[in-house]
Amino acid sequence: MPETLSRAIVALLLALCAAQVVAKEAAPEAADPALEARMTRITAELRCLVCQNQTIADSNAGLAVDLRRETRELLRQGKSDEEIVAYMTARYGDFVLYRPPLKPTTALLWFGPAAMLLLGGTVLLLVLRRRTRLAADAFEPDEEGEDLGERGDPAASAAASAAGPATGSATGSATGPATGIARP
């Protein structure tokens, strides 16, 4: 009984912690929730330059806080989303955009992965097609195939049934047949 009680207390404490975390994240910065939502939507597309893998919306770096403030102010001035993005790129370059624009300098970035996949796929296809045209004796015999062949051999299977119980119990026994039929 005391154990369930202490568990309940721990659960309650954890729940309280969680509630606090949520409260912290939802701290309202501006009185206008619509403007705040728009600001968050815009800054979620912009990279914070201080901690480069975070968005300006996520980051708590001083610069990100300032840039959110600037975004809010620009929105209040009635600027469009495009104008705000242009404001950022004029100062920090295309680097601030999580979705860089399609330009000659970014073509490799956009099409590189697809080109690599296409290249790899083409090479694979060519190799496979060449292989299907080769005669069977061009390949080395398969290990699994050998195994099966031996198991199909009546003498070998008889030996296996005889040796199986003896060596199977003593795992790692050096006397086990090397063919692998004594595997447990």
């Binding site: 610069l63 300032d66 840039l67 600037e70 920090y92 370059g93 680097f95």
Partner: protein, 176 residues
Amino acid sequence: MKRFWFLIPLAAFLALAVMLAVGLKLDPREVPSPLIDKPAPKFALQRLDDAARTIRLDDMRGKVWMLNVWASWCVACREEHPLLVEFAKKRVVPLYGLNYKDQREDAKGWLARFGNPYDASLFDDEGRVGIDFGVYGVPETFVIDQNGVIRLKHIGPLTPDVIATKIEPLLKKLDA
């Protein structure tokens, strides 16, 4: 021709290795500024040492000058500071400071303690002019020419090497 096909994977590997090696050498923190060769953003800021006096971009027209972004809370600024003090002694070009997101008293105390290489410092407590200059990593240093065009931006602390190989040749070219 067909004899050399086995070299293709090797060539592909070498190309990839070279690309990744170059990628390792690049510093992702050094973001190329779109402001190079563009007119410097207009500003009007209080002087750090005298809130009653304002410095504007237009006051600088006709001369080559340098703007160094600094703050008393910035550790790397302290690292580059002796170098700036030395550089200012040569009196090559006017050197202005942009005191970025700082407290006025802290900043003044910092200059009193470590020396003041600046002709004047601009007091940008909200960081607005910093944003207009695309500042993201203090210290940063700009060279601005006679026409008010930004010619160079250096991110991070200056080094003797940067001054000797990048800044001084540029100043010479600009005939400062």
